[in-house]
């Protein structure tokens, strides 16, 4: 019996370490299931809706819950990202239309420092609200792997469309026309 004690302890410790590794890996994973659900039309509730994030250039904080009832286009960006700069005018143009329909773009800076983000906002004449996701927890909830990414949230707080690359063509315009018509 005693000769099996040490191997048993070693196996027990190894199993514990494997369990720990599995736990760590599982909690690092991205929620790619959001993409699948949106594609199926089984719209998931937007993650991190209650997460309060600092408003860029202000001492205030804002969360998705504060915008509940509005259609929200979340655009994740960073000042150092070239594609983000390319799509900024598209978003700003769309924002001018959205405000007429009780909808808004919400910029979320990710992996960026506030001074560079403020400079970006100033350079591109952005008028929509911008918040900072310093920890990255908010965008990771959406399964974000980088910038830019765009998610559309309907008036019920569900993710109804998303794009994990630069906005191009009329994707945003066509998507918003459809969603605003559905929620009118």
């Amino acid at each position: 019996m005693r000769r099996f004690a040490i191997p048993a302890v070693a196996v027990f410790v190894a199993a514990g370490l494997l369990a720990l590794l599995a736990f760590g890996v599982a909690h690092q994973g991205t929620s790619s299931s959001i993409d699948a659900k949106v594609a199926r039309g089984d719209y998931p509730v937007a993650p991190g809706a209650h997460m309060q994030m600092p408003i860029l250039g202000s001492s205030g904080r804002e969360s998705l819950v504060d915008l509940r009832g509005k259609v929200v286009v979340i655009n994740v960006f960073a000042s150092w990202c070239g594609p983000c700069a390319t799509e900024a005018p598209i978003l700003e143009q769309e924002q001018r239309q959205l405000v007429k329909h009780d909808a808004t773009v919400l910029g979320v800076t990710y992996l960026d420092n506030s001074s560079d983000s403020e400079q970006f906002v100033h350079q591109h004449g952005i008028t929509y609200p911008v918040v900072r996701d310093v920890s990255g927890n908010f965008v990771r909830g959406f399964g974000a792997t980088g910038v830019p990414e765009t998610y559309v949230i309907n008036r019920q707080g569900q993710v109804v469309a998303l794009r994990r690359e630069q906005l191009a063509g009329n994707w945003l315009q066509q998507t918003m026309t459809r969603i605003l018509a559905q929620s009118a």
Binding site: I6, C81, L111, S115, V134, G136, V147
Partner: protein, 164 residues
């Protein structure tokens, strides 16, 4: 002056001579914290987008981090202030070494624990193995059965063929 008074005076002088340079060094160290360098600071940081150590990362985000660090150095911030500032801007993911709380604590606890457990196992088993080896070496004859005369004769015959 008595002998005791002279000894006390000499001791006080000796203490003053030793303490003066020490206190001067302490004052200088606290007054002028070493100026941070980009190399020194970026060694402790990660490129959060590419998930590589900042010194080797080549990406727009890494460049943005470096230029922000240069700005903070130019503003006269110390290394620890810069690291705090970077965490405030980019989150704890920017740190090369994760902060020691929550799940990250396992990084600091498990390796020493495994080492300690390994050392304990060795400390427990090695003396037993050595005791067994010594005991086996001391009584080799007892463990080998003696040959009976017939087998001994046969062995001798077979060996003589090789000698022959």
């Amino acid at each position: 002056m008595t002998r005791i008074a002279r000894t006390a005076g000499a001791t006080a002088l000796l203490i003053a001579l030793v303490a003066a340079p020490l206190s001067l060094a302490t004052t200088t160290a606290t007054a002028t914290a070493p100026r941070a360098s980009l190399t020194d600071v970026e060694n402790d940081l990660m490129c959060t987008e590419c998930r590589e150590p900042l010194p080797v990362a080549q990406s727009p985000e890494a460049d943005a981090e470096r230029s922000y660090i240069r700005l903070l150095i130019a503003q006269g911030e110390t290394k620890s202030q810069i690291l705090q500032n970077m965490v405030a801007q980019y989150g704890t993911a920017v740190l090369g070494k994760p902060p020691a709380h929550g799940f990250n604590l396992t990084v600091y606890v498990i390796p020493p624990a495994i080492l300690a457990a390994g050392a304990a196992i060795l400390a427990f088993t090695l003396p037993r193995w050595r005791r067994r080896a010594r005991a086996a070496a001391r009584a080799p004859a007892a463990s080998v059965p003696a040959l009976d005369p017939a087998d001994a004769q046969r062995l001798e015959q077979e060996l003589s063929q090789f000698r022959g």
